[in-house]
Each structure stands twice: as C-alpha cells, then as structure tokens.
Symmetry: C2
Subunit: 354 residues, 2 copies
C-alpha cells in the first residue's frame, strides 16, 4: 500500500487521532506502549500512524516531559587541540555506544578556551537543550564545577577534579585513569633503563592531568633518589607542535636530557621529530616515553613507548554515570579509576647497562 504523502505540513498526533477515531491522548499512550490501552485500539492507532507516515515531534515531547534525552559534550579546542589529539574520537566512540543503547542523543560543542567552555556548558544546560554534560578537561580549581553543583545540574567529569589549593573538592561523579601512576610507571621505566637526566615535558599547567602526571614523575624520581632539575621540567600544549617546542627548548638551552617523559604521545612524537632533525638519535641519545597509546605511535619510527589509557572505556563509564544521575538526581557521587599499562617499544629501548 502507498504511504500517504499528501500532507506536506507535518502530520501531528491530532491527525493520527482523527484518522483512528480516538483522542490524541490515546495516541500518545499507544506511542508510549502504555499497557492500559486495548490491543484493538493500539492496532487502529498503529494503522493510522502507518497510513499517515506519522513521526512524533521530539521537541514537543521534550517540552512536555522536560527532558531532551540529549547529553552534551564540550570540547575545548586549543587545550587539547581538539581532535588533533586522538583522545576525543575515542572518548566519543565510547560515549556514543552507551547513548545509542539508552536512546539518548549527543550534542557536541567546541569551545575556544576555558571561559567559553564554561559559558557554553552552562548555556546548554540552562536552556534545557541537554539533560546533562560530560566535561573533558578538568582544570585545577575550576569554578565551573562549583557552579554546576550549585545549580544542581547533572554532569560527570572525565578527569578528576581538584580545587584551587590542590585540595579535594566536593564529591562529584568522575572517571579517570590513575595519572599519578601513569607518571610514576613511565618515569620508573626510564630510570630502570639506565637513564640519568630525565626530563618531563608536561601539558598545560592548569590541567589536572598535567598536575597528576608530574606528581607521578616526582614520586618516581624521589623513590629512586634522583634529583629533579627545574630546567628539565617544561609545559607545552598537548600537540606535536608542543613537542617540537620542547625539543627546541632543550636544544637551545644546551642541556639535553637523555630521557624525556612526555605527558602525551603527540608531544612525544613532535619532540622526536625535532630531535631527529637535529641529528639526535632516539632512543640512543634520548629515550622517549609518551602517554595514550595512540595509533600513530605504533607506526612511527622509532615506534613509541607509551602508557595505555582506557579512553574508550572512560567514555562508556562516563556516559553511564551521567544517565544514572539524570534519571535520579539523588544518586550518590562516586568515581571510577582505570589502570594504565606500560607499553615498551623502540623509543625507550637500548642502553641499560648502568
């Protein structure tokens, strides 16, 4: 049978009701699979829906139910160089699988800095365009978090929160990998590899992830009685460009470490590129370890030693936690920490005879 295409003006629940000879509320109940409605009536209504080619208006439903069944994700561009870094695609894939399963939708916003990130986030939530948000770049002492808590808006953090004075903050929902462990294990690996001067090229100072990875680096250095030299501590953006900057810094300073722990694979790869140009060999002259196990690190030459991070799973978990919270505002806050593993490849091998 032909689907009726006569109505160019969107067919509504009223049209369906008229066609089926019932009240609009009955149609609504059929749509909602209400067990109250008789099978007979349901059939009539479904018939009418088919014939008219009816599609429920999700916006109207959202308004009536005051829920958009949509969650927001805001990506702050320069911080993580947005998509350049493989972190985002992965986390979105993880989030997406949960949303698909739960019948939720994803609204994606880009922000150019912390300020616009905050504004955008609040705006999405308060305009009710989304029922909750996932935040991906925890900053130290982020005021956004307290605003969200204050307004009782559902959110979950990917990246643990810490306050301005580096203290714990009010309990919120978050997932993260153990970045202190990440820093520790990576640094320890370089130490055990026999490296003397181990530099750390960290991400932007205001990010918690940078803070934590540095913390792990410090721990390992202390544990093995190594002196931490300020000249070997440097902060750059989470990009290849950042890594290039870092390498340049060491080259110009005339003090070249013989190992670099980079807080991110992109940084590590950029640094390696620049070192190569300078005729400095990795790993012979300088060993390098990154973080994230990005695909690019696997094929690079030398292939990159790195710390695995369960990005996909963090996305999954974050989405699940957010939906739980949306469905019940009173669920207690908790967090989930994922373990990381050292993946040794060419960029940190050789040398070992200490």
């Amino acid at each position: 049978m032909h689907v009726c295409e006569v109505f160019k003006m969107a067919v509504t629940i009223k049209d369906v009701a008229a066609r089926a000879g019932v009240n609009p509320s009955t149609v609504s109940r059929v749509l909602a699979e209400s067990p109250l409605i008789s099978e007979e009536t349901k059939e009539k209504v479904r018939m009418a829906i088919k014939e008219l080619g009816y599609h429920p208006n999700a916006i109207a439903r959202s308004l009536a139910m005051s829920s958009s069944r949509t969650i927001g994700l805001v990506i702050s561009r320069p911080t993580e160089q947005a998509f350049a870094n493989p972190f985002f695609p992965e986390v979105i894939r993880g989030i997406g699988t949960v949303l698909e399963r739960e019948g939720y939708h994803l609204m994606l916003e880009m922000a150019s800095d912390a300020e616009s990130e905050g504004r955008t986030t609040l705006q999405m939530l308060k305009s009710r365009r989304v029922d909750g948000v996932i935040l991906t770049s925890s900053r130290i002492g982020d005021s956004l978090i307290s605003r969200l808590i204050g307004d009782d808006l559902p959110f979950v953090l990917i990246g643990r929160p810490i306050g301005k004075e580096y203290q714990e903050v009010d309990p919120v929902l978050w997932v993260d990998n153990d970045n202190v462990q990440v820093g520790y294990v990576a640094t320890e690996h370089l130490i055990l590899n026999g490296r003397k001067d181990i530099a750390m090229v960290d991400g932007p100072k205001d990010l918690v992830v940078s803070y934590d990875r540095l913390c792990g680096y410090r721990k390992a250095m202390h544990r093995y009685g190594r002196e931490i030299r300020e000249e070997f501590l440097i902060n750059v953006p989470f990009t290849e460009e950042g890594g290039i900057q870092a390498a340049e810094h060491f080259i110009k300073s005339g003090r070249m470490p013989n190992a670099i722990f980079a807080a991110d694979d992109s940084i590590a790869l950029g640094a390696i590129m620049r070192l190569k140009e300078q005729g400095i060999t990795v790993p012979d002259d300088v060993a390098v370890v990154g973080v994230n196990d990005s695909p690019i690190g696997r094929v690079a030459r030398p292939s990159l030693t790195t710390m695995s991070v369960e990005i996909f799973d963090m996305g999954v978990r974050a989405a699940e936690m957010l939906i739980e919270r949306i469905n019940d505002r009173d669920t207690p806050s908790y967090h989930v920490v994922f373990p990381s593993e050292l993946i040794v490849r060419e960029s940190s091998t050789a040398l070992k005879a200490e």
Copy 2:
C-alpha cells in the same frame, strides 16, 4: 548584587514578566531584540532577567518557532572506521566553526551500517530534532538521497552523489574534492616515477569515493598506455587493517606489484607495515601513495606520499550550504569541488631510471 537563587523550579518568561510588570510577550520581544520595544521597558525587563537569573528555554522556543537551530551529522562507523580515520575530526572542526558563528548546534549520531545510517538520519529530521543534516558517506545509488529529496528535507552531502547505474542524480547540494583527479595524479606520479606494475588498493566498492578514485587510476593507466591487471585491483575498508589485508593478499598471491596507490593514508600505512614485516622495502621494492595527508603519514617511516584533501574546508562549506538551504528551502542546488595536491615524500621516491 546577589543573583536570586531561590527558585529551584526553573524561572520562566512569566516570572520575568511578573517581576518587570509587563506581559510575557513583551519579555519575548526584548529577548528577540525587537526594535518595537521602548528602551525603558527593555531596561526593566533586562533587570528582571538578571535578578531572576532567567535563561530562555531553547526547547520551548524550538517548538514555537519550529526550528531547533541544530544540524545533524551522522557518522557511519565501520565504513570509515569512524574516528580512527582522521577525516571525521577534521570535518567536524570545519563544521563546528561555522555553527559557532551562526549560532547553530551540532547533533552527532553514530550508525553501524548504511541501513542504520538511513534510519537515524530520517529519524533525526522527522522528529524535528535537527533542521538539516550533513551526510558524509556517499554510496552509489543511495536510496536515502531520494527519500530526503522526496520529503523535502534539508541536507548536504560531503561526497558527490551518483545513481545506481552510475548516472548523475537529481541536483542536490554537495561538496567534494575531485577524486578522479586524486586518483589520476597519484597514479601518474607512480608511473612517472618509473614503476611498472601499479596496484590500486581501493576502499569499499559501494562508496562513491572509491569509484571515483579508481576511475582516476584507470584514466592515468590508459593515458600512459599501461595495462590494468585485475589481480592488482582490490577493495578493503578505509583502515590500517584494510591495508594489512591488501599487503597480505599480494604476498600470498605471489604477484607483488612494485607500486601501490592506496585510496587512503590509513590503508597505505597498514600496507607498508605488513610489507616491512615481510622484508619488502618501501619505496625501493614497492612505492606507496595514499590520500588525505593525515598527520600520521608525516611522521611515519618512510614518510608517506599522499594527496592533500581540504577536509576542514569541505566541512566549512558544507555547513554553510546547509544553513543557507535551511533558511531558504528554495535556493537552487549546486556543488563545490576542492582541488587536491600531490605531496611527495619518502614512500614513493627512489627509482626513476626508466
């Protein structure tokens, strides 16, 4: 002054109206910057908005205006291995800059195959969750396109459309790079490089992009009087894994080409990895050219010769075209084609003495 936080129950336009001593419609007009309202009244209303911490409900507005100011992007996962391929992040960045400028929002959906892609797309549109969509994987004879046209739903294609019988289809909005040229230039480069047996590892057969790149390959081969050997034509997914498969195919067959034009950098990189394992040297034994100028190809060893593709700009243009169409359904259809450039790197150098 303290923002009033007493109302936990979302403050509405009515509350603002009451506070300002005006009618809700007046508040609405102030929000819309209507020139009809007196400056005095506007001030009063703005005051009230501030005091109450009012945020307009975007859902209600969408319903009233029957426009969500949101556009949809559906990413079909396995086809392009979604985000694994750097194409998507780039295109989203491009789209995002336009949407931000125009005050639109982005809804992202993942689909697992062509069928679910179609269903999801129609569903977003018909439920009025989005005002239009950008489609990213043009398939040959895609029935979705005619449905969208039939229902007069706004959309733009990234990737030119062609019909089941490889004929042109009804005019629609699309942007693309010139994939025939891409195939031609890449293949010609290998020919001029002195390569004898040039294989093409193409993407999935049902995608227009695969068809076009193959077409360019054929053209170049004919132009230079080369015979096209069916055994050197193979289709794989747009992933590293696909490239590995392709290399394996050539290895097993015992007929190794001495050049490979891969329809995508990921394929090219996968193939190179596998060839290396086999002790086959790139570019000495086999030259390889990819497409997309992905960051990973720049740092790989050997670095990858590739065709640049203006992915970011295609995203920008697509978003602009879609918004134009949403604002005026009667704009004529047209398309924009972006040029590509050959970027020669290590994977296709050496050998040339023919």
